[in-house]
Symmetry: C2
Subunit: 170 residues, 2 copies
C-alpha cells in the first residue's frame, strides 16, 4: 500500500486563523489574509516567535475546512503518516498529540512523526504547504495552498486548493 506523508500546520490545522486571532489580542489589529500572500508566517505575523513557543498555541488551532473528512478518506485508502516539523518548538509537541487525538481520533500515535526535517522519512506521496519540504521529496508532490505559497508556480508539484480536491488525485 502506498504511504502518504501529510503535514499538520496549514494542511490539517488552520494556523493562520490562530495567528490572526492572537494578533488581534496583542495589538487590536485584524490582519487580512489578502495582505499576507507571499509572506512566510514568521514574516507575516509580528508575534510569531512568541506564539509558536507558547504552550497552548497548537492545542487550540482550528481545523482546515474539510480536513477531517479528507484525512479519513486518505487513511481508509492508503497508509497515512502525519509528519510535522516541530522539534524546533518543544512546547508544541504534547499539544500536537492531544490536538490530533481530539480532532482525528482515527489516527493512531503510531502514525505520527514529530521531527526537524522531512527528507529522512520514507514515503510515496507528500502533502505539504512548504515547497522546501516537497522539492527534496522523491515521491509524488502535492502543494497544499496557503497564503505564503499562493504565488508559487512549480511544475514538479500538484497544487491542492481544498481537501475536496484530494479525491481527484489520490
Amino acid at each position: 500500500m502506498e504511504r502518504i506523508l501529510v503535514d499538520m500546520d496549514a494542511v490539517l490545522g488552520d494556523v493562520y486563523a490562530r495567528f490572526i486571532d492572537l494578533e488581534i489580542k496583542e495589538s487590536g489589529i485584524k490582519l487580512e489574509l489578502d495582505s499576507l500572500v507571499g509572506k512566510l508566517e514568521q514574516d507575516a505575523f509580528p508575534h510569531f516567535d512568541k506564539h509558536v513557543h507558547t504552550k497552548g498555541f497548537f492545542r487550540h488551532v482550528p481545523l482546515i475546512d474539510g480536513s477531517v473528512e479528507g484525512l479519513r478518506y486518505l487513511n481508509d485508502k492508503y497508509e497515512v503518516l502525519i509528519v510535522s516539523s516541530s522539534t524546533e518548538f518543544p512546547n508544541s509537541l504534547t499539544d500536537k498529540m492531544e490536538w490530533m487525538e481530539e480532532n482525528f481520533p482515527f489516527i493512531s500515535w503510531k502514525q505520527i512523526v514529530l521531527c526537524g526535517r522531512k527528507d529522512i522519512i520514507k514515503g510515496d506521496a507528500m502533502i505539504d504547504d512548504h515547497l522546501k519540504n516537497l522539492t527534496v521529496f522523491d515521491g509524488k508532490r502535492f502543494l497544499f495552498t496557503a497564503p505564503h505559497n499562493q504565488l508559487i508556480v512549480d511544475k514538479s508539484c500538484q497544487r491542492i486548493n481544498h481537501w475536496e480536491e484530494i479525491k481527484i488525485y489520490l
Copy 2:
C-alpha cells in the same frame, strides 16, 4: 556521509536506573538488574505504565555511561539522527527535548525524531536496544545491551555492550 540512527531510551538515557529508583519510592523494594534479565521493561517494572505516562519521568533520566562522549564521537564523524519511539507517551515529548538540550547540547532539534515506528526512517546504521526495531531496518544493525535483550543471540546484529565499543565498529 553515512547516517546513523541512535535510540534514546536505554542507549543514551538509563531508563532502568530511573525505573528502579521510582519502584523504591512506590514500594520500598529495590529491584536488582540481574533479576530483570530477559524481561521487557513493561513486564519488569510493576508501575511501568504509570511512570512512562507521567510528565517529568523522562526529564530526570540519568545518562548511560559514556553516552555523551560516544555520541559526540559519532556526531563528529557521521550524520546522526536521534530516533525515539515516543508518540505513545505524549507527556514525554517536551521532557525528551529538554533532556537532550541539557545533556547533548551539540545535537540540534533538526536531528531529533519522535515517532511511533522506526521503519519509516532512512538511515545507514541503527543503534537500538530493541531487536524489533533492528530486524525491520535495512542498514547496519547494532544491538545496544540492556537487561531485556541480554539473552538474545541474533547474527544479523552487532552487539554493543558499552559506548566505548562504538569506536571499534563505527
